[in-house]
Subunit: 408 residues, 2 copies
């Protein structure tokens, strides 16, 4: 008999205090007693990671990357141990594993390491012995035997990667929301929970402000075809399945509206429209580790053009410094930075076969008097940069116009 | 040129908050810039270990030993990372190491593991590369690749063991007191700091209530001839050297008076005085992992005797249960437990050649009206169990009688 294996991931709010940890232990034990093998991935409790980062900045002006990883990984160490104790208290076997013990081998890029390989022998042995394996999310060990972290949202990636390595039937991501919604319910009260979305839609949602799943974990799930089930650890109700596109029934044209207020817009004005200009600009930014997101370049008039792009607001100072040094070299007339912007995106796989979506989106925003500053599209997404004070209004009118809500 | 290596150990109060960590980093950097190689051992910050234990008891009735070790070791992980960041901030290289990374291999006894071997290659490489190595105290990795802890006071043992493995010139133990005193200064205001004590005296002091150094670390230092310097991380003044007896100049008859209120006295009454009785009793207790300390058996009268012994107060319930089960088997008339006791000890290597010490001690206590309930002696120590309310008074009169104080 083949027993099927489930990977369950619990985020920080799901294990924020002893009572939450005991509730999670109850659910894990129930899953086990329903006949499943269970591998659990846990984040640090509540705000632990933020608290540790704060401590780091109290003792150091620029905390060392290797030491920051050593520090932050203490958080998951605490949560895996406590969760195991609670499970054992309920009469099941449980064994905790650090990222290193779980065989999560990464590259050496501290604070944003990439998983190279998972040597899951120890986890497999534990599960074969009848134990519930509880793994520290967000962390691994590098090729030089140093402790690494996978960056924010890294626990989702740990969970999906383990689900792939262990050939799990599903990777359940437990969080403090009920699933993936057609829009942020705090902005749009009529937002509706989606039963299923495709990996591609989820990718675009995560990339444009949907905070439910970390982008890298969705990429990993798509590449390894891991079914992901996003659900609540507070209600334990079924949530949203993230699966292959052909498994998504009743494909809607638009799956959701997302928004993001974390970026700023930089514009380089009156740049000569010559080959190599964009390359020099973005190479300079890449060398300074600035994460450029959207890039828009208009057609040129009289041999000159404007180049606009968005960067995380935290990177604006660094970006301005880098641009300052090359703006003469680019023969541009100048540049400006605007933090007072936000992005609104429509995401939906059905868009590919419905050419009128972009037009309908722009009309809706125009009727509402929302000015569009930048536009960028992919085959299943349209994003508009607008003034930040217009963002929530834009989300609401688009949600109504595309009939996404419960009232749709 | 051979550069000499210093091991420095900082306890929890020495790194209790960011300001303390920065003060410790200053001292480490100063030591390094004075031309020494430095390996640092750190405990968890302040009350971290207690806080983590408390959390464990909130999620679990009897926390699992393996998981408790996983949990508690998070504490040192935080302090080593923060201390390294602070050192790096001051312009020196520093690298943190968990017990496992430092090559501290232990047996598999969770919560009280013993160090089997230290594979210090990684530490040596770091030091050779010009780095300050900062090692998590109190922890190691077992022969089965599980995380272990060495028990309370384990960071002292880590430091002394590393000093032995790395052939350090000295193991400096930084703490919140200025050194080893002739008595607890909170009880005896005139208590005097000792410049030097022998390993043997320090062993007896640690075993009888001196809380400055953990017993196991002193044993380790003696067995490997590691000079230990106990000193304050608040004043940075020279403290007390713990060294070979022949290096202790001007050997005093008595080095200090110690006291201990953590034990209880158990008495088994009217036991037949036959071979094998004591063996059966203490085998039963050992099988229940009760740590018996002093044992006193009087000469028998009419073929029967009383056996008294002391155990930690935490073990009293377990001890009573074990004794209950064998008291009939031992043909004893009954047993009693008394938690209202304490122990006062005189420690001094000079005692070996001064036979009158015991008599003088008993006379002093008798003049003060302190009744002695049990007596036990070694070649350099005399311990008396007395009523707990008499303990501090006994310490004070003995400190005066043996002229130990600044006014002596």
């Amino acid at each position: 008999m083949v027993v099927s294996l489930v990977v369950q991931k619990y985020g920080g709010t799901s294990v924020a205090d002893p009572d939450r940890i005991k509730a999670v232990a109850d659910h894990i034990v129930a899953t086990r007693r329903a006949g499943k093998d269970v591998v659990v991935v846990v984040s640090a409790m509540g705000k632990t990671t933020d608290d540790l980062e704060h401590l780091a900045h109290e003792v150091s002006t620029v905390p060392d990357g290797r030491e920051m990883d050593m520090l932050l990984t203490a958080g998951e160490r605490i949560s895996i141990a406590l969760l195991c104790m609670a499970i054992i208290d309920r009469g099941e076997h449980a064994v905790s594993f650090t990222g290193s013990q779980a065989g999560i081998l990464t590259d050496t890029a501290h604070r944003k390491a990439k998983i190279l390989e998972i040597k899951a022998d120890r986890l497999r042995d534990a599960v074969t012995d009848g134990s519930i394996a509880v793994v520290a999310g967000f962390q691994g060990v590098s090729t030089t035997s140093d402790i690494t972290t996978l960056g924010r949202g890294g626990s989702d990636t740990t969970a999906v990667a383990l689900a792939a390595a262990l050939d799990a039937e599903v990777c359940e991501i437990y969080t403090d929301v009920a699933g993936v919604f057609t829009a942020d319910p705090r902005v749009v009260p009529t937002a509706r929970k989606l039963d299923r979305v495709s990996y591609e839609e989820m990718l675009d949602m995560s990339a444009t402000g949907g905070r439910v799943l970390a982008l890298r974990s969705v990429e990993f799930a798509r590449n390894h075809d891991v079914p992901v089930h996003v659900r609540s650890s507070f209600t334990w109700e079924p949530g949203t399945w993230v699966v292959q596109e052909d498994e998504v029934m009743e494909q809607a044209i638009i799956s959701g509206v997302t928004h993001d207020l974390s970026e700023a817009k930089i514009t380089i004005t009156h740049v000569p429209d010559r080959p190599g200009i964009a390359a020099r600009l973005f190479r300079a930014l890449a060398d300074d580790s600035v994460n450029v997101d959207m890039i828009v370049q208009n057609v040129s008039t009289e041999g000159h053009t404007d180049i606009s792009f968005t960067v995380p607001r935290d990177d604006v100072a660094r970006t301005q410094k880098a641009v300052e040094q090359i703006v003469d070299d680019l023969e541009a007339s100048g540049f400006s930075a605007d933090e007072n912007v936000g992005r609104v995106s429509l995401v939906g796989a059905g868009m590919k076969t419905h050419p009128g979506v972009a037009a309908a989106m722009f009309e809706t925003l125009a009727q509402e008097g929302v000015n569009i500053e930048m536009i960028s599209t992919s085959s299943i997404r349209i994003s508009c940069v607008v003034a930040s004070e217009d963002v929530e209004r834009a989300v609401r009118v688009l949600h109504v116009a595309f009939e996404l809500g419960d009232d749709g």
